[in-house]
Symmetry: C2
Subunit: 446 residues, 2 copies
């Protein structure tokens, strides 16, 4: 990565960089070999930078004797992530056994939380002080608390004897306050905090909204449980967006880097949806079957079928992706559904009208150029135009409603993928088109 400048000139530094460059394309075995060749210090920095998935794969690939020291390198919250990468219970147990007693207990406690809740993302290591000590005492105390309590030091959390969170004081304030004032004097009691079960999407919104470096996690009684730090949320936001994008594209979420998914996994995650859509789309054959006579009499009508149904699919996928993202960002909630859908229908009408004009001109122009569409081309043109308006409106309606319906029944709105919406709209599009056509051409062509 060109934007990554390592200042160190040492051989090892370069070796670590090389490994980083080539990591993507190495097998786990090669990764391990190159990794174990690094000097310990370099290897430790490198290891801590890896994703939980990579850390887990390295550790599993190692000789058992070496695993302990690497597991113990991880802070509790990261250790949890690595343990969670293990599928089987027995394997998780082995990994836990590598940790020292205290960390093992902390990790086990964290494992009780769902992976994507605040409880599962938080670390129990944070800086804490009592409210009634002086600024100088607090600073001296924090210096004694030592490394593990100070993983993130932008904020110090003020707790009473029952571990209840009273306030937060930023290091900046602590540092720049008059040494003799008490922590209580300078702390802020206006706290943005999360519950243990706050899900990661909501957490991401809190961080984005308040530009915080860390958010404390408290239980129902307001007792401090840990902190979630923004650097952990960055990965979470990336994952959430990736899942949504992949679902919108009509696949299951890959849950792994594109190039690391095996061929068969990839096939499974894609073909299931494709098959479902294929079966759904085969309804179009039934729909068209019902108009077989019309088609036989007026073949010209069939020429515009793809044009019309695809317009519905396109407008529908626009609507669904806009709504899906707005929901993910918390800009739109379930209660907004009518506001959104009604707006989308009007958008659909306006867009449909514009396309209808294009469609009409297209047919007329072609006719005058090549006389392809027979004497009744004006009626055909009108049928096409009217259908486009109807189909595009229907597309935006379905596309904008579907995410709300999915969310309402507890499914992921992002499953309202472009292909899914398009398939829903295609069938209706055909019915709409041939209905208009038979009305306009009955007794003329039909």
């Amino acid at each position: 990565m060109t934007s990554l400048r390592k200042e160190t000139e040492s051989e090892a530094g370069l070796a670590a960089d090389d490994l980083q460059e080539t990591w993507r394309i190495l097998t786990t075995e090669d990764r391990l070999e190159a990794f174990l060749d690094l000097p310990r210090a370099e290897a430790e920095d490198f290891f801590l930078d890896l994703s939980a998935r990579d850390q887990y794969e390295l550790i599993s690939a190692m000789p058992v004797a070496q695993r302990r020291s690497w597991m113990r390198l991880l802070p509790p919250d990261d250790a949890v992530d690595v343990v969670q990468e293990a599928e089987e219970h027995a394997e998780r147990y082995e990994l836990l056994a590598l940790l020292d007693e205290q960390t093992k207990n902390e990790v086990t406690a964290l494992l009780a939380y769902a992976e994507d809740d605040a409880g599962g993302l938080m670390t129990p290591s944070y800086a804490r002080v009592r409210p009634d000590v002086s600024v100088d005492e607090a600073i001296a105390y924090l210096r004694r608390q030592g490394r593990d309590r100070l993983e993130h030091v932008n904020y110090v959390y003020v707790l009473d004897a029952d571990q209840r969170l009273l306030g937060i004081v930023s290091f900046r304030d602590l540092f720049t306050a008059a040494p003799s004032r008490t922590v209580r004097d300078i702390m802020s009691a206006d706290i943005v905090s999360a519950q243990e079960d706050t899900d990661q999407e909501a957490l991401g919104q809190l961080f984005a909204q308040h530009d915080l470096q860390a958010i404390p996690v408290v239980d129902a009684e307001g007792r401090m449980k840990g902190i979630v730090t923004v650097d952990d949320i960055v990965d979470v936001l990336q994952e959430e967006a990736t899942e949504d994008i992949q679902k919108i594209g009509g696949t299951e979420a890959l849950d792994a880097p594109y190039l690391e998914v095996t061929f068969s996994e990839m096939l499974k995650k894609r073909v299931v949806w494709l098959a479902v859509l294929f079966v759904g789309e085969s309804l179009t054959a039934i729909a068209m079957g019902r108009f077989e006579d019309e088609i036989a009499k007026a073949v010209v009508l069939t020429l515009f079928i793809p044009l019309i149904i695809s317009s519905g699919g396109n407008s529908g996928s626009q609507a669904s992706t806009l709504v899906i993202r707005a929901m993910a960002l918390g800009e739109v909630t379930l209660s907004d559904w009518w506001r959104v859908v009604s707006r989308e229908i009007i958008q659909g009408f306006s867009m449909g009208a514009i396309l209808a004009v294009l469609g009409f001109l297209r047919v007329v122009a072609w006719q005058s150029a090549f006389h392809s569409y027979g004497e009744h081309y004006v009626r055909v043109a009108i049928a096409v135009s009217l259908s486009v308006v109807g189909v595009v409106m229907f597309g935006t309606m379905v596309g904008s409603m579907l995410p709300f319906i999915l969310k309402r029944i507890g499914l992921d709105p992002a499953s309202a993928s472009a292909p899914f919406v398009a398939t829903l709209v295609d069938v209706t599009g055909i019915v709409i088109y041939f209905t208009f056509a038979s009305l306009l051409l009955r007794g003329v062509l039909l």
Copy 2:
């Protein structure tokens, strides 16, 4: 937001919460009124939590006399964002004029950078020390440096007399080191840093990859220019993902919350793409026109057109979205193009084969049930199956290549939207289908 707990019981705290709850649905005027009703302290916290866009709109709506104190509340990097929200040069100048001399100079310097480069995201406020002072001296010195230099205190940057970045020492290390050691002893010289022109997507990857709280920005000579903090990157990552998702859905990026985009803006951002796709899709009418005789003779063929072309569109949008996201995450680079495309073609063949079996069974089953497809239904079924294989393969190929091509010629890969790919594939799908059909049915139905 349920996960947002404000500990304060004061009236004002509640008022601020109410405003936050209703913010989304208020007009700028109502927002300003409610905002100015808050007690100053509450208002300041609230103001600092707002997005740059909202801050800009509030300030522009205020009586001129009140603007100064709010602009001066912002740290330099946030002030830059607010100024950049202003479209006209004159307006930007007015906003700059509200700042004190020093901040104005810092902001003007930052304005010189592109909005989405490291230079445009960085803040010039960071904690700095000389390498040869003792730990105790460093801590004492930092306490004297005061608030503005300590916006983010997780890292202290070690600079030589020429402002060259020698190393980084975490507050944790500084805090827990023996007071008499020198900063040089405990600093890390192994620095992840960015250039002024590193773009925000690459920055986001650096943060996600290294779990850093801040990244220093240096010029070509390694002189320290500022730091980018992870809390600013959270918003950036959100925006980047939102843009990609909206483009994948076949609209231009909205650049604003869904509900805040005016009807006409929204229409403009959507109908342009729809119209382009509509014109492109009208090629299908031409393609089908070339097979009008075949259609007239064998109407049954037309029934499967939507089924076949949509399969290509769906597999294509799967491929393009997977590749687009893999590129955005840096999992796939231009040089991987053949590795990806060849893999996608094989995926396409496998998926096509599975769908082909479904298609064949579908036709045969329907025939035995309703005798809808005439005596030569087996040949029709074969034509459909072969076409599905060809179309799905073609879809995955186009869908996976398009993002590479767009990126190669300097466009955004995310413009390879599902609708765009589908349109490209539809025309070819029709040609493929009718070619197979005429081969198989020539002399029989045709």
